[in-house]
């Protein structure tokens, strides 16, 4: 490369970097600082009223019963939702990859569709499907002489209902990642296995799944991080109810920040979430390393 005007590259990256700095990096610092203060809506007009409170917000947040509840709910979402998304998207990808006819390409589109649609529209539609009197789901159950299910009114069932919606939305993207990984497996492996008379099941468990290890690892990390931040579904569908049984940590932060305007308190909550995400991700990397070493 020729020696150019050294300012040129900086001119190209400046707008994007300035915006990223202002709206992604700098906010981290701000969040950390305000999490040690009692900043709220009132103090926005007069900065001098902001008090430094040390670790009080962090201590407070762990005593907050709603926060503890939201922590439990978030774990519930992650422990049930993440494996479900991975299993469903992997199963769909394997089936689509197994098919040889052109029609199977159409299935990619159908299963991908839910993930590009607007979350509010999706929540509105599912609220209608879940409606106890007029909803399609209960109608179908009654039609089959089964009792109605309190989809969004029972504390445990409402969590399950939100998971169902989120799994439905989550299959598409992960399926595409799995399909890409499947297409990367050399055909010769299967040809050799078939010559040796290996059954389809043997080929799946001895060739396909071991070779998909990295894709599965990648998908489980990204899915896990996504589900730890579970937010829009409960916000639009249940507003965290009934009795905070669907409130996630992310929704707790949003509510304290923008509805109660306790910015400092909410920032402390968000750092707890951030640290939890980092720890869980690191743990997963550890586990993965051990697995590879065998």
């Amino acid at each position: 490369m020729k020696a150019l005007n050294t300012k040129t590259p900086y001119f190209f990256i400046a707008p994007a970097l300035l915006l990223l700095g202002l709206f992604s990096l700098f906010p981290i610092v701000v969040a950390l600082v305000i999490s040690f203060t009692d900043i709220s809506l009132e103090s926005l007009g007069d900065w001098s009223t902001i008090r430094f409170v040390g670790l009080e917000n962090y201590l407070e947040v762990f005593k907050d019963p709603i926060f503890m509840k939201s922590l439990f709910n978030t774990l519930f979402y992650v422990i049930i939702g993440v494996p479900l998304v991975i299993i469903c998207s992997l199963a769909v990808a394997l089936l689509i990859n197994f098919g040889k006819a052109r029609i199977f390409r159409a299935f990619r589109v159908i299963f991908y569709m839910p993930s590009i649609t607007n979350v509010v529209a999706v929540a509105v539609v599912w609220s209608y499907l879940y409606n106890p009197q007029l909803g399609l789901f209960n109608y179908v159950l009654n039609f089959l002489h089964l009792p109605s299910v309190p989809w969004l009114t029972d504390p445990t069932m409402s969590k399950v209902s939100l998971i169902a919606l989120a799994v439905w939305r989550g299959i598409g993207v992960n399926m595409i990642i799995f399909l890409a990984a499947l297409q990367g497996i050399p055909k010769t492996y299967y040809e050799a296995a078939q010559l040796d008379g290996a059954t389809n099941w043997k080929q799946l468990t001895k060739i396909t799944l071991p070779l998909l290890r990295y894709a599965i690892f990648f998908v489980s990390i990204t899915t896990m991080i996504g589900w730890l931040q579970f937010f829009e579904e409960p916000l639009v569908m249940t507003k965290g109810g009934p009795l905070d049984s669907t409130t996630s940590v992310a929704l707790f932060i949003y509510r304290n920040g923008f509805q109660l305007s306790n910015f400092g308190y909410a920032a402390a909550g968000s750092f707890v979430l951030f640290i939890a995400i980092i720890i869980i991700t690191l743990l997963q990397f550890r586990l993965q390393k051990k697995e590879v070493d065998y």
């Binding site: 040129t8 607007n118 209608y128 932060i253 979430l273 951030f274």
Partner: protein, 293 residues
């Protein structure tokens, strides 16, 4: 003679068993197809029900048992959305958001180009910094960004809605990946002809980058059309609401009118579905190529 006979018998047995295998194989293909078709149908139920209900009059949606196809086909719900519910305003705002996000796309392309094709001090470090922003959860930055926008007097303005999501690290990353495959000789030739660096970017780099621009353009459109969180946080006046914020307002205010809600949802979802159907090959394959490398 003997061996020939034996061979032909063997061959026959082989074709027999391979015919059997082929039949078993075809059987498996059919079963796979049927399972996927069933799964696909279940996945599509919310969409089907949404579209069907959007064209039913309000009374018909309240009926038990529900009708499958609209008994009385009506456009009344859609008319209602635009004449009585401010959806014209929401639509206009959404289009503004989408157009602005294309400016962001351009900025991402510029940054990706510089990271791919220039040597400069701090290049690696700055690029890692860009990638690091992908790890930061939205919940952590949400409140500080609001406070920053408030300090800049941008709350309750269109600029405040658009700015936080204007550029994205992942998009910069994808542009860089694609543009580093463009041969340097091409750029050198243009430079010898005396083209300025910015003209080089506009007239040579961007046209070559059409495939990645197409993928990113579609994804940008979808993201802009669906944008929800920042409009919700920043806009106080209904005159700044986007379609998704308006739709969530509709859910709160007309909770009982499902026909109207389904019409609103249909209006949000169907344009995206159509665009996706038209360009799905680019999106899915673009994803695969750029995402996994």
């Amino acid at each position: 003679m003997e061996t020939m006979k034996l061979n032909s018998v063997k061959a026959k047995a082989q074709t027999n068993s391979s015919a059997k295998a082929r039949r078993a194989n075809r059987m498996q293909q059919w079963v796979t197809g049927i399972i996927l078709a069933l799964g696909g149908f279940i996945i599509s139920i919310p969409f089907i029900w949404m579209i069907l209900s959007a064209f039913k009059p309000e009374m018909e949606v309240m009926q038990i048992p529900p009708t499958f196809l609209p008994k009385e086909f009506t456009l009344e719900n859609f008319v209602n959305l635009f004449e009585n519910m401010n959806f014209t305003v929401y639509l206009r705002n959404t289009i503004v958001v989408v157009l602005c996000s294309f400016i962001g796309l351009f900025l991402n392309a510029m940054a990706g180009y510089a990271f791919a094709k220039y040597q400069f001090k701090g290049r690696e470090k700055l690029f890692y910094l860009v990638l690091a922003t992908m790890m930061i959860p939205g919940q952590v930055t949400m409140i500080p960004v609001y406070l920053i926008l408030n300090q800049l007097h941008l709350t309750n303005t269109m600029a405040g809605i658009v700015l936080p999501g204007l550029v994205g690290a992942f998009s910069i990353f994808l542009f860089r990946q694609f543009m580093s495959t463009i041969p340097d000789e091409l750029l050198e030739a243009a430079r010898l002809d005396g083209a300025s660096e910015f003209r080089l970017f506009l007239q040579i780099i961007l046209p070559i980058s059409k495939p990645i621009l197409a993928v990113q353009g579609i994804l940008t459109f979808i993201a802009g059309w669906n944008s929800f969180l920042w409009p919700l946080i920043i806009a106080n006046d209904e005159s700044l609401y986007t379609l998704s914020v308006g739709l969530s307002l509709l859910k709160g205010q007309y909770g009982g009118n499902f026909a109207l809600q389904m019409a609103g949802s249909t209006f949000m979802v169907v344009p995206i579905v159509i665009i996706f159907m038209l360009f799905q090959k680019h999106i899915i394959e673009g994803y695969t190529i750029s995402g996994m490398k």
